[in-house]
Subunit: 188 residues, 2 copies
DNA sequence: TCAGATTGTCTGTGATTCAGACTGTCTTGA
DNA sequence: TCAAGACAGTCTGAATCACAGACAATCTGA
Protein backbone atom coordinates (compact mmCIF):
# COMPACT_ATOMS: atom_id res chain seq x y z
CA UNK A 1 0.00 0.00 0.00
CA UNK A 2 0.86 3.63 -0.37
CA UNK A 3 3.70 2.94 -2.72
CA UNK A 4 3.44 6.29 -4.39
CA UNK A 5 1.63 8.28 -1.76
CA UNK A 6 4.92 9.33 -0.25
CA UNK A 7 5.29 11.81 -3.08
CA UNK A 8 2.29 13.75 -1.88
CA UNK A 9 2.40 16.43 0.80
CA UNK A 10 1.74 14.90 4.22
CA UNK A 11 -1.79 15.42 5.45
CA UNK A 12 -3.08 16.35 2.02
CA UNK A 13 -2.81 12.90 0.53
CA UNK A 14 -5.96 11.86 2.35
CA UNK A 15 -7.87 15.02 1.47
CA UNK A 16 -10.29 13.86 -1.17
CA UNK A 17 -11.13 17.36 -2.29
CA UNK A 18 -7.49 18.24 -2.68
CA UNK A 19 -6.90 15.10 -4.73
CA UNK A 20 -9.83 15.86 -7.02
CA UNK A 21 -8.76 19.46 -7.41
CA UNK A 22 -5.19 18.46 -8.22
CA UNK A 23 -6.38 15.86 -10.72
CA UNK A 24 -8.61 18.40 -12.45
CA UNK A 25 -5.83 20.95 -12.45
CA UNK A 26 -3.47 18.39 -13.94
CA UNK A 27 -5.98 17.56 -16.64
CA UNK A 28 -6.60 21.20 -17.50
CA UNK A 29 -2.90 21.87 -17.64
CA UNK A 30 -2.28 18.87 -19.86
CA UNK A 31 -5.11 19.71 -22.26
CA UNK A 32 -4.69 23.49 -22.33
CA UNK A 33 -2.56 23.40 -25.42
CA UNK A 34 -5.08 21.18 -27.18
CA UNK A 35 -8.06 23.38 -26.32
CA UNK A 36 -6.56 26.80 -26.76
CA UNK A 37 -7.25 26.90 -30.49
CA UNK A 38 -10.96 26.85 -29.77
CA UNK A 39 -12.80 30.00 -28.70
CA UNK A 40 -13.13 30.04 -24.88
CA UNK A 41 -10.76 27.11 -24.44
CA UNK A 42 -11.99 24.13 -22.46
CA UNK A 43 -15.48 25.44 -22.06
CA UNK A 44 -15.73 26.13 -25.74
CA UNK A 45 -14.65 22.56 -26.30
CA UNK A 46 -17.35 21.25 -24.01
CA UNK A 47 -20.07 23.33 -25.64
CA UNK A 48 -18.90 22.29 -29.09
CA UNK A 49 -18.84 18.67 -27.99
CA UNK A 50 -22.37 18.95 -26.62
CA UNK A 51 -23.50 20.55 -29.87
CA UNK A 52 -21.95 17.81 -31.98
CA UNK A 53 -23.48 15.09 -29.83
CA UNK A 54 -26.84 16.89 -29.69
CA UNK A 55 -27.12 16.16 -26.02
CA UNK A 56 -29.46 19.07 -25.29
CA UNK A 57 -32.49 20.66 -26.92
CA UNK A 58 -31.75 24.22 -25.84
CA UNK A 59 -29.10 26.39 -24.23
CA UNK A 60 -30.39 26.06 -20.69
CA UNK A 61 -30.42 22.29 -20.76
CA UNK A 62 -26.93 22.35 -22.21
CA UNK A 63 -25.78 24.74 -19.50
CA UNK A 64 -27.21 22.45 -16.84
CA UNK A 65 -25.38 19.45 -18.26
CA UNK A 66 -22.08 21.31 -18.43
CA UNK A 67 -22.49 22.91 -15.03
CA UNK A 68 -22.51 26.44 -16.40
CA UNK A 69 -24.64 29.47 -15.71
CA UNK A 70 -27.15 30.30 -18.42
CA UNK A 71 -25.76 33.81 -18.76
CA UNK A 72 -22.31 32.38 -19.39
CA UNK A 73 -23.73 30.12 -22.06
CA UNK A 74 -24.69 33.13 -24.14
CA UNK A 75 -21.22 34.35 -24.93
CA UNK A 76 -19.72 30.88 -25.12
CA UNK A 77 -22.13 30.09 -27.94
CA UNK A 78 -21.57 33.58 -29.35
CA UNK A 79 -17.85 32.93 -29.65
CA UNK A 80 -18.39 29.54 -31.29
CA UNK A 81 -20.86 31.06 -33.74
CA UNK A 82 -18.38 33.82 -34.55
CA UNK A 83 -15.78 31.15 -35.30
CA UNK A 84 -18.23 29.33 -37.54
CA UNK A 85 -18.19 26.15 -35.45
CA UNK A 86 -21.85 26.10 -34.38
CA UNK A 87 -25.11 27.73 -35.43
CA UNK A 88 -28.11 28.95 -33.50
CA UNK A 89 -31.27 27.72 -35.17
CA UNK A 90 -34.82 28.53 -34.10
CA UNK A 91 -36.61 25.47 -32.81
CA UNK A 92 -39.74 24.99 -34.95
CA UNK A 93 -41.38 23.10 -32.11
CA UNK A 94 -40.82 25.87 -29.54
CA UNK A 95 -39.69 29.23 -30.76
CA UNK A 96 -38.30 30.17 -27.37
CA UNK A 97 -35.56 27.62 -27.87
CA UNK A 98 -32.38 28.11 -29.83
CA UNK A 99 -31.02 24.85 -31.13
CA UNK A 100 -27.23 24.89 -30.93
CA UNK A 101 -26.07 22.73 -33.81
CA UNK A 102 -22.54 22.11 -34.99
CA UNK A 103 -21.42 23.06 -38.48
CA UNK A 104 -19.32 20.78 -40.65
CA UNK A 105 -16.31 22.85 -39.71
CA UNK A 106 -17.22 22.48 -36.04
CA UNK A 107 -17.41 18.72 -36.39
CA UNK A 108 -14.03 18.62 -38.08
CA UNK A 109 -12.40 20.81 -35.48
CA UNK A 110 -13.87 18.76 -32.65
CA UNK A 111 -12.37 15.62 -34.17
CA UNK A 112 -8.94 17.21 -34.29
CA UNK A 113 -9.13 18.62 -30.79
CA UNK A 114 -10.54 15.42 -29.34
CA UNK A 115 -7.56 13.56 -30.69
CA UNK A 116 -5.15 15.91 -28.92
CA UNK A 117 -7.27 15.67 -25.78
CA UNK A 118 -7.01 11.89 -25.80
CA UNK A 119 -3.24 12.14 -26.06
CA UNK A 120 -3.11 14.48 -23.09
CA UNK A 121 -5.48 12.30 -21.10
CA UNK A 122 -3.32 9.27 -21.75
CA UNK A 123 -0.36 11.27 -20.54
CA UNK A 124 -2.19 12.13 -17.34
CA UNK A 125 -3.13 8.51 -16.72
CA UNK A 126 0.37 7.30 -17.46
CA UNK A 127 0.95 6.07 -13.89
CA UNK A 128 -1.81 3.51 -14.42
CA UNK A 129 -1.73 0.51 -16.71
CA UNK A 130 -4.53 0.00 -19.20
CA UNK A 131 -6.93 -2.10 -17.06
CA UNK A 132 -6.46 0.33 -14.19
CA UNK A 133 -7.29 3.27 -16.42
CA UNK A 134 -10.52 1.69 -17.47
CA UNK A 135 -11.33 0.88 -13.85
CA UNK A 136 -10.63 4.47 -12.89
CA UNK A 137 -12.90 5.82 -15.62
CA UNK A 138 -15.67 3.41 -14.65
CA UNK A 139 -15.51 4.33 -10.97
CA UNK A 140 -15.46 8.02 -11.82
CA UNK A 141 -18.46 7.61 -14.10
CA UNK A 142 -20.41 5.80 -11.41
CA UNK A 143 -19.65 8.44 -8.79
CA UNK A 144 -20.76 11.23 -11.10
CA UNK A 145 -23.84 9.33 -12.21
CA UNK A 146 -24.75 8.73 -8.59
CA UNK A 147 -24.38 12.39 -7.82
CA UNK A 148 -26.52 13.48 -10.75
CA UNK A 149 -29.19 10.96 -9.78
CA UNK A 150 -29.25 12.33 -6.25
CA UNK A 151 -29.44 15.95 -7.29
CA UNK A 152 -33.19 15.97 -7.49
CA UNK A 153 -33.99 13.61 -4.69
CA UNK A 154 -32.79 14.70 -1.22
CA UNK A 155 -30.38 12.23 0.29
CA UNK A 156 -30.34 10.67 3.71
CA UNK A 157 -27.38 12.66 4.95
CA UNK A 158 -28.80 15.89 6.28
CA UNK A 159 -25.59 17.77 5.70
CA UNK A 160 -25.68 16.96 2.05
CA UNK A 161 -29.40 17.45 1.77
CA UNK A 162 -29.18 20.94 3.19
CA UNK A 163 -26.27 21.94 1.05
CA UNK A 164 -28.01 20.72 -2.07
CA UNK A 165 -30.93 22.99 -1.42
CA UNK A 166 -29.07 26.18 -2.16
CA UNK A 167 -26.77 24.73 -4.76
CA UNK A 168 -29.34 23.73 -7.34
CA UNK A 169 -29.33 27.03 -9.14
CA UNK A 170 -26.47 26.83 -11.60
CA UNK A 171 -23.60 26.91 -9.19
CA UNK A 172 -21.02 24.86 -11.05
CA UNK A 173 -18.00 26.32 -9.35
CA UNK A 174 -14.89 24.89 -10.87
CA UNK A 175 -13.55 24.13 -14.28
CA UNK A 176 -10.93 26.03 -16.06
CA UNK A 177 -9.80 29.53 -15.38
CA UNK A 178 -7.77 30.06 -18.54
CA UNK A 179 -8.44 31.57 -21.91
CA UNK A 180 -8.49 35.13 -20.77
CA UNK A 181 -8.05 36.24 -24.35
CA UNK A 182 -11.61 37.39 -24.28
CA UNK A 183 -11.83 40.81 -25.81
CA UNK A 184 -15.12 42.11 -27.03
CA UNK A 185 -17.51 39.83 -25.27
CA UNK A 186 -19.82 42.69 -24.45
CA UNK A 187 -20.75 45.42 -26.84
CA UNK A 188 -20.74 49.06 -25.68
CA UNK B 1 -20.34 -2.61 -18.93
CA UNK B 2 -21.78 0.85 -18.89
CA UNK B 3 -24.48 -0.12 -16.47
CA UNK B 4 -24.79 3.33 -15.02
CA UNK B 5 -23.35 5.38 -17.81
CA UNK B 6 -26.76 5.73 -19.34
CA UNK B 7 -27.58 8.31 -16.69
CA UNK B 8 -24.95 10.64 -18.04
CA UNK B 9 -25.53 13.04 -20.91
CA UNK B 10 -24.57 11.41 -24.21
CA UNK B 11 -21.18 12.46 -25.51
CA UNK B 12 -20.11 13.82 -22.15
CA UNK B 13 -19.78 10.50 -20.39
CA UNK B 14 -16.47 9.90 -22.14
CA UNK B 15 -15.17 13.43 -21.50
CA UNK B 16 -12.61 12.92 -18.80
CA UNK B 17 -12.41 16.61 -17.96
CA UNK B 18 -16.15 16.85 -17.62
CA UNK B 19 -16.20 13.84 -15.30
CA UNK B 20 -13.46 15.27 -13.11
CA UNK B 21 -15.16 18.66 -13.02
CA UNK B 22 -18.48 17.13 -12.10
CA UNK B 23 -16.88 15.01 -9.40
CA UNK B 24 -15.15 18.01 -7.89
CA UNK B 25 -18.32 20.05 -8.10
CA UNK B 26 -20.22 17.26 -6.39
CA UNK B 27 -17.62 17.10 -3.64
CA UNK B 28 -17.65 20.84 -3.09
CA UNK B 29 -21.42 20.89 -2.98
CA UNK B 30 -21.54 18.02 -0.53
CA UNK B 31 -18.93 19.52 1.78
CA UNK B 32 -20.01 23.15 1.56
CA UNK B 33 -22.11 22.91 4.67
CA UNK B 34 -19.28 21.30 6.58
CA UNK B 35 -16.71 23.91 5.55
CA UNK B 36 -18.79 27.06 5.77
CA UNK B 37 -18.17 27.49 9.49
CA UNK B 38 -14.50 28.06 8.77
CA UNK B 39 -13.25 31.40 7.48
CA UNK B 40 -12.92 31.27 3.68
CA UNK B 41 -14.70 27.94 3.44
CA UNK B 42 -12.95 25.11 1.62
CA UNK B 43 -9.75 27.00 1.11
CA UNK B 44 -9.65 27.94 4.76
CA UNK B 45 -10.09 24.26 5.53
CA UNK B 46 -7.17 23.31 3.32
CA UNK B 47 -4.89 25.93 4.80
CA UNK B 48 -5.87 24.92 8.31
CA UNK B 49 -5.29 21.28 7.44
CA UNK B 50 -1.86 22.09 6.03
CA UNK B 51 -1.04 24.06 9.17
CA UNK B 52 -2.09 21.23 11.46
CA UNK B 53 -0.10 18.68 9.48
CA UNK B 54 2.87 21.04 9.18
CA UNK B 55 3.29 20.14 5.54
CA UNK B 56 5.11 23.36 4.64
CA UNK B 57 7.79 25.54 6.15
CA UNK B 58 6.44 28.85 4.87
CA UNK B 59 3.47 30.41 3.14
CA UNK B 60 4.81 30.14 -0.36
CA UNK B 61 5.49 26.44 -0.09
CA UNK B 62 2.04 25.97 1.38
CA UNK B 63 0.50 27.96 -1.48
CA UNK B 64 2.30 25.79 -4.00
CA UNK B 65 1.03 22.62 -2.37
CA UNK B 66 -2.53 23.88 -2.30
CA UNK B 67 -2.41 25.33 -5.79
CA UNK B 68 -2.99 28.89 -4.63
CA UNK B 69 -1.43 32.19 -5.53
CA UNK B 70 0.90 33.63 -2.91
CA UNK B 71 -1.11 36.86 -2.74
CA UNK B 72 -4.25 34.89 -2.00
CA UNK B 73 -2.45 33.06 0.78
CA UNK B 74 -2.05 36.30 2.70
CA UNK B 75 -5.70 36.94 3.44
CA UNK B 76 -6.57 33.27 3.82
CA UNK B 77 -4.08 33.09 6.68
CA UNK B 78 -5.26 36.51 7.87
CA UNK B 79 -8.80 35.23 8.23
CA UNK B 80 -7.68 32.11 10.07
CA UNK B 81 -5.52 34.17 12.41
CA UNK B 82 -8.46 36.49 13.06
CA UNK B 83 -10.54 33.45 14.00
CA UNK B 84 -7.82 32.23 16.34
CA UNK B 85 -7.29 28.99 14.44
CA UNK B 86 -3.68 29.50 13.35
CA UNK B 87 -0.76 31.73 14.29
CA UNK B 88 1.99 33.33 12.26
CA UNK B 89 5.30 32.78 14.00
CA UNK B 90 8.64 34.12 12.85
CA UNK B 91 10.93 31.32 11.75
CA UNK B 92 14.04 31.47 13.96
CA UNK B 93 16.04 29.78 11.23
CA UNK B 94 15.06 32.29 8.53
CA UNK B 95 13.31 35.45 9.53
CA UNK B 96 11.89 35.93 6.06
CA UNK B 97 9.61 32.99 6.68
CA UNK B 98 6.38 33.02 8.62
CA UNK B 99 5.58 29.66 10.13
CA UNK B 100 1.84 29.05 9.94
CA UNK B 101 1.08 26.89 12.96
CA UNK B 102 -2.30 25.74 14.19
CA UNK B 103 -3.57 26.69 17.63
CA UNK B 104 -5.26 24.21 19.96
CA UNK B 105 -8.58 25.68 18.91
CA UNK B 106 -7.60 25.24 15.28
CA UNK B 107 -6.73 21.60 15.84
CA UNK B 108 -10.06 21.02 17.55
CA UNK B 109 -12.04 22.73 14.83
CA UNK B 110 -10.22 20.79 12.13
CA UNK B 111 -11.15 17.55 13.86
CA UNK B 112 -14.80 18.52 13.91
CA UNK B 113 -14.87 19.71 10.32
CA UNK B 114 -12.89 16.71 9.08
CA UNK B 115 -15.51 14.47 10.59
CA UNK B 116 -18.28 16.24 8.67
CA UNK B 117 -16.11 16.15 5.55
CA UNK B 118 -15.72 12.39 5.86
CA UNK B 119 -19.46 12.02 6.12
CA UNK B 120 -19.99 14.06 2.97
CA UNK B 121 -17.24 12.16 1.17
CA UNK B 122 -18.84 8.86 2.08
CA UNK B 123 -22.10 10.21 0.71
CA UNK B 124 -20.40 11.12 -2.54
CA UNK B 125 -18.83 7.68 -2.86
CA UNK B 126 -22.06 5.94 -1.98
CA UNK B 127 -22.38 4.33 -5.44
CA UNK B 128 -19.20 2.35 -4.71
CA UNK B 129 -18.77 -0.42 -2.20
CA UNK B 130 -15.94 -0.22 0.31
CA UNK B 131 -13.19 -2.00 -1.66
CA UNK B 132 -14.06 0.04 -4.72
CA UNK B 133 -13.81 3.27 -2.73
CA UNK B 134 -10.34 2.37 -1.57
CA UNK B 135 -9.36 1.43 -5.13
CA UNK B 136 -10.68 4.74 -6.37
CA UNK B 137 -8.71 6.68 -3.78
CA UNK B 138 -5.55 4.74 -4.57
CA UNK B 139 -5.83 5.31 -8.30
CA UNK B 140 -6.55 8.98 -7.75
CA UNK B 141 -3.52 9.30 -5.49
CA UNK B 142 -1.29 7.66 -8.04
CA UNK B 143 -2.49 9.89 -10.86
CA UNK B 144 -1.91 13.02 -8.78
CA UNK B 145 1.46 11.79 -7.56
CA UNK B 146 2.45 11.08 -11.13
CA UNK B 147 1.45 14.55 -12.19
CA UNK B 148 3.35 16.21 -9.37
CA UNK B 149 6.43 14.13 -10.14
CA UNK B 150 6.27 15.19 -13.79
CA UNK B 151 5.83 18.87 -13.04
CA UNK B 152 9.54 19.52 -12.85
CA UNK B 153 10.74 17.07 -15.44
CA UNK B 154 9.43 17.66 -18.98
CA UNK B 155 7.46 14.72 -20.28
CA UNK B 156 7.70 12.88 -23.55
CA UNK B 157 4.44 14.21 -24.93
CA UNK B 158 5.30 17.47 -26.59
CA UNK B 159 1.83 18.84 -26.17
CA UNK B 160 2.02 18.41 -22.45
CA UNK B 161 5.61 19.51 -22.27
CA UNK B 162 4.79 22.77 -23.97
CA UNK B 163 1.78 23.45 -21.87
CA UNK B 164 3.71 22.83 -18.70
CA UNK B 165 6.20 25.49 -19.60
CA UNK B 166 3.86 28.40 -19.13
CA UNK B 167 1.82 26.82 -16.40
CA UNK B 168 4.50 26.53 -13.76
CA UNK B 169 3.96 29.95 -12.29
CA UNK B 170 1.12 29.68 -9.77
CA UNK B 171 -1.61 28.85 -12.19
CA UNK B 172 -3.77 26.41 -10.23
CA UNK B 173 -7.11 27.35 -11.64
CA UNK B 174 -9.83 25.32 -10.05
CA UNK B 175 -11.03 24.58 -6.59
CA UNK B 176 -13.97 26.13 -4.97
CA UNK B 177 -15.74 29.28 -5.94
CA UNK B 178 -17.96 29.62 -2.90
CA UNK B 179 -17.74 31.37 0.40
CA UNK B 180 -18.27 34.83 -0.91
CA UNK B 181 -18.97 36.07 2.59
CA UNK B 182 -15.71 37.91 2.51
CA UNK B 183 -16.15 41.32 3.97
CA UNK B 184 -13.18 43.28 5.14
CA UNK B 185 -10.39 41.43 3.49
CA UNK B 186 -8.63 44.61 2.53
CA UNK B 187 -8.19 47.61 4.74
CA UNK B 188 -8.89 51.10 3.43
C1' DT C 1 -58.15 35.78 -23.59
C1' DC C 2 -55.26 36.09 -19.65
C1' DA C 3 -52.07 34.75 -15.86
C1' DG C 4 -48.09 32.28 -14.98
C1' DA C 5 -44.00 29.76 -16.46
C1' DT C 6 -39.90 29.36 -19.49
C1' DT C 7 -36.01 30.67 -22.76
C1' DG C 8 -32.56 33.69 -24.15
C1' DT C 9 -30.45 38.08 -23.45
C1' DC C 10 -28.48 42.14 -21.19
C1' DT C 11 -26.69 44.84 -17.22
C1' DG C 12 -24.66 45.80 -12.74
C1' DT C 13 -22.42 44.30 -8.71
C1' DG C 14 -19.39 42.01 -6.16
C1' DA C 15 -15.89 38.47 -5.83
C1' DT C 16 -11.54 36.69 -7.42
C1' DT C 17 -7.25 36.20 -9.81
C1' DC C 18 -2.92 37.88 -10.89
C1' DA C 19 0.98 40.90 -12.22
C1' DG C 20 3.86 44.22 -10.32
C1' DA C 21 6.00 47.05 -6.82
C1' DC C 22 7.81 47.27 -2.28
C1' DT C 23 10.12 46.05 2.38
C1' DG C 24 12.77 43.15 5.21
C1' DT C 25 15.88 39.36 5.21
C1' DC C 26 19.33 35.99 3.60
C1' DT C 27 23.30 34.60 0.59
C1' DT C 28 27.21 35.17 -2.11
C1' DG C 29 31.37 37.20 -3.64
C1' DA C 30 34.94 40.60 -3.56
C1' DT D 1 32.74 44.50 5.84
C1' DC D 2 30.03 45.81 2.09
C1' DA D 3 27.30 45.52 -2.20
C1' DA D 4 24.43 42.93 -5.33
C1' DG D 5 21.18 39.65 -6.10
C1' DA D 6 17.60 36.34 -4.51
C1' DC D 7 13.68 35.32 -1.80
C1' DA D 8 9.37 35.67 1.52
C1' DG D 9 5.56 38.23 2.60
C1' DT D 10 2.59 42.14 1.77
C1' DC D 11 -0.10 45.61 -0.65
C1' DT D 12 -2.30 47.80 -4.74
C1' DG D 13 -4.54 48.08 -9.11
C1' DA D 14 -6.34 46.22 -13.21
C1' DA D 15 -8.69 42.79 -15.49
C1' DT D 16 -11.70 38.93 -15.35
C1' DC D 17 -15.51 36.44 -14.08
C1' DA D 18 -19.81 34.53 -11.86
C1' DC D 19 -24.23 35.48 -10.82
C1' DA D 20 -28.58 37.82 -9.37
C1' DG D 21 -32.03 40.46 -11.39
C1' DA D 22 -34.69 42.52 -15.04
C1' DC D 23 -36.60 42.19 -19.52
C1' DA D 24 -38.98 40.70 -24.03
C1' DA D 25 -40.68 36.90 -26.59
C1' DT D 26 -43.00 32.75 -26.32
C1' DC D 27 -45.59 28.78 -24.60
C1' DT D 28 -49.19 26.51 -21.59
C1' DG D 29 -53.35 25.86 -19.20
C1' DA D 30 -57.64 27.45 -17.59
Amino acid sequence: MKELACDLPPGLEVDFGWLLGQALHAYLTATRRAAEDLPSGHRGYQVLSAAVHESARNQIEMARQLGLDRTVMVYLVDDLVKAGLVERRPDPADRRNRLVVATDLGRKRLDEVSCAMDCAEAQLLEPLDEPERETFRQLLRRVVAGHLAHEGAPSTCSVVAESLKDALGADHGDQQRDERAKVDRRGP
